[in-house]
Amino acid sequence: MKETQLEQTVRLYGKDILRFCRITTGSVEEGDELYQDTMLTLLEKQEKLDPGQSIKSYAVAVSLRLWKNRRRKTARRLRLAPQQSLEDLQAQGGQPGTAEGTSPEEIVMRKSQLYLVRRLVEQLPEQYRLPLQMYYSADLPVKAIAQILKLPENTVKSRLHRAKVTIRRKLEEMEYDTAAI
């Protein structure tokens, strides 16, 4: 990959990759750092890139590997469990323009509800959480997720399904108000 190709990758897929990094780390700052590392790793590993390979899938796989390494290292080095700081993601809210004419109170409520959903996703076991984050945050198809996680496509599909069922059940248990979204 040459630098111009990297720029093209950033233009085409940068948002999805960055979003995946932020959602996976649970932090804008850490996600941005992971994104920068991912892009530079792409540039350095140019000779290993298969021309027929999806650069976006490769980037997500790289970021996942880097994040796992970093999480392990941080947990050990600081003598603590990995930290999560979802408040900054909470402050961002969701996609703008999906809830027209809402009052400030409703916006705050909507943000806190989206935050709740993110927290529920965070609480999923990794085997269910990662496919969900790849599918929604990185906007990857099931086939690509299966390749990255080295799983059969049907396994990815069933994990996605199970993850959604779990979250939906928890939301319903909490009598979640979808009308506010």
Binding site: K15, L18, Q36, R76, L78, L80, Q83, Q92, V117, Q123
Partner: protein
Amino acid sequence: MTQQQFERILYQALRPEVAADATAIDDRHRRKRKGTCMNIKKFVKKAGMVAAALVLLGATTVCASGGAVVKRLVSRTESYRYSSFQDMDQAMKKAGFQMAVQERLPGGYVFSEAAVRSTEARDADDRRLFCYYKIDVEYRDASGKTLDLIAHERREGIVDTEHAPGQSRMVGAVTASYFVDHYKLVPAGYEWTQEDEKLARQPGYFISEGSGLNAVQESEVALMTWEQDGICYTLMDMGAQETANQLFAIAGKLVLGG
């Protein structure tokens, strides 16, 4: 809730808006990766992030400190990072103290990177008593094994280990102590068993909770501590892969220099 409503919720929650300019490659980051950057990279600037970025240290420290009692230490996740050994002068300048440091250590360990982090000492009511800097120097060998050398100025009320060492030896004019601690990292919401309660009361056994974990992870950490010229040093061997003798040899190299 219909399936369509639910899909919309998931989509909105997991696809927060990302500004296009946030995806640009940061040149400072690039230089740092290439090992030519002499500049400090300061990660977090937003004040709103500070509270979220505070991280509790695993071990609780209880000591007298000018009348107040240091109940726990809170370390900030933000750090100043230095990618080259030549940058250590800057790291020490930032931390406000000089430490004994070597580019190469016995056992094939070579300087990898350094970070300066601030740590707050807090009392039982979570009030800040004082703040101090730590320098964390990471060394790496050819197989990827790492050692961390952590240094800070001696502060009243701060101890780096709370239990008796497994071994102590004179290294030059200082006493170096060797410990092996056991860490159990547990997922958020983990319910402690009776066995956990019992183990947590043992010296050198720590249970720490983190929301990013899905399963319990256990790890041993070997520590070598000493104090020289008012600076407290901790050499940390994750996974306790090196022998006590090897860590004493490394401490000797740092204490005696050369």
